[in-house]
């Protein structure tokens, strides 16, 4: 049973997660003005159709608004945090060119993304054990190949604390 719609692949999590444009923290609002008819707006229309879901998925806190048939020429407008506005003319461009351009001017670069990923990794170091909120695992008993939790299976007699204490006491 195939998915419904024209390009239903746009509605898959995998497609959404493949979005390349992650905006810098300064970008707060993105506005797309385009026309529903006309060749010049074709790139903008495809951009809205294919790329906007990806952008919104990767930037959940950016407000994205679309305006149709308000002006003769299509354009994008970004509103940054300090009141600055960025106008991007999109007339006649291909949707791939538009997304590349937007990524170049207002997207986080590869190195910034990798640095952020590194910082996140350090916070969630797999070597640490602790509460689920802060670490991946709580106890070494969760790892395969290690001694299982004594709560589920009793430890062999030689490993129990009271046996060892007994042996230590009998030796002295």
């Amino acid at each position: 049973m195939p998915m419904k719609g024209r390009f239903p692949i746009r509605r898959t999590l995998e497609y959404l997660q493949k979005g390349e444009i992650i905006f810098k923290n300064r970008v707060k609002i993105m506005t797309v003005n385009y026309n529903t008819h006309g060749e010049l707006s074709d790139g903008a229309r495809k951009f809205v159709f294919f790329n906007i879901p990806q952008i919104q998925y990767k930037n959940p806190w950016v407000q994205i608004m679309m305006f149709k048939n308000m002006t003769p020429s299509p354009f994008l407008k970004f509103y940054l945090d300090d009141g600055e506005q960025v106008l991007v003319d999109v007339e006649g461009k291909d949707y791939k060119q538009i997304s590349q351009h937007v990524k170049k001017i207002l997207g986080k670069s590869e190195e910034v993304l990798q640095a952020e990923a590194q910082a996140k990794m350090q916070a969630s170091n797999p070597a640490n054990f602790g509460p689920k909120k802060y670490c991946l695992r709580e106890c070494i008993c969760e790892v395969e190949g290690q001694v299982p939790c004594p709560g589920t299976t009793p430890l062999p007699k030689e490993m129990t604390g009271k046996y060892r204490a007994q042996m230590a006491a009998s030796q002295d």
């Binding site: 509605r11 959404l16 806190w61 002006t71 007339e91």
Partner: protein, 146 residues
């Protein structure tokens, strides 16, 4: 700074004015795209905000940029009008700076000098001559349509 009242996330928002019946306050509807969890499609989710508009310059239907106030002005008003982005009926095309109505310009684009027309006809004559003499294909010269 206590975070109790101040609008935390929405520092800048864009919306459409839906009501101006209150004095010095505009009712603004803001739409955000929200992902439907089952269909995995984005839909507009709307929310109304009240914005302080000291000069009462908004009319219903304007597209408006709001800025969060550092302190809420009253129980509901937490934003103020930063600028009117597109005034209803008087939209200005940001690329040319001219008034626009829908997809047409209200005024004609006459910033090109008229001398071009004469040179264009001369060019066409030249092309005719060259077409008559040699059967080379000559595509018409590209000119912006006025």
């Amino acid at each position: 700074m206590s975070v109790k009242h101040a609008s935390v996330h929405a520092k800048w928002i864009i919306g459409r004015v839906i009501g101006t019946k209150m004095q010095k306050t505009a009712k603004v509807r803001v739409t955000r795209l929200v992902l439907d969890p089952y269909l995995l499609k984005y839909y507009n989710n709307r929310k109304t905000y009240f914005a302080h508009d000291a000069l009462q310059q908004c009319t219903v239907g304007d597209i408006v940029l709001l800025k969060a106030l550092p302190e809420p002005k009253s129980k509901h008003v937490k934003h103020e009008l930063a600028e009117i982005v597109y005034k209803v009926g008087r939209v200005v095309d940001p690329l040319t700076g001219k008034n626009v109505a829908g997809i047409d310009f209200m005024e004609s684009l006459s910033d090109l000098p008229l001398k071009e027309e004469t040179t264009l006809s001369e060019k066409l004559q030249e092309l005719n001559i060259s077409a008559a003499s040699s059967e080379a294909e000559s595509p018409p010269a590209e000119t912006p349509s006025s």
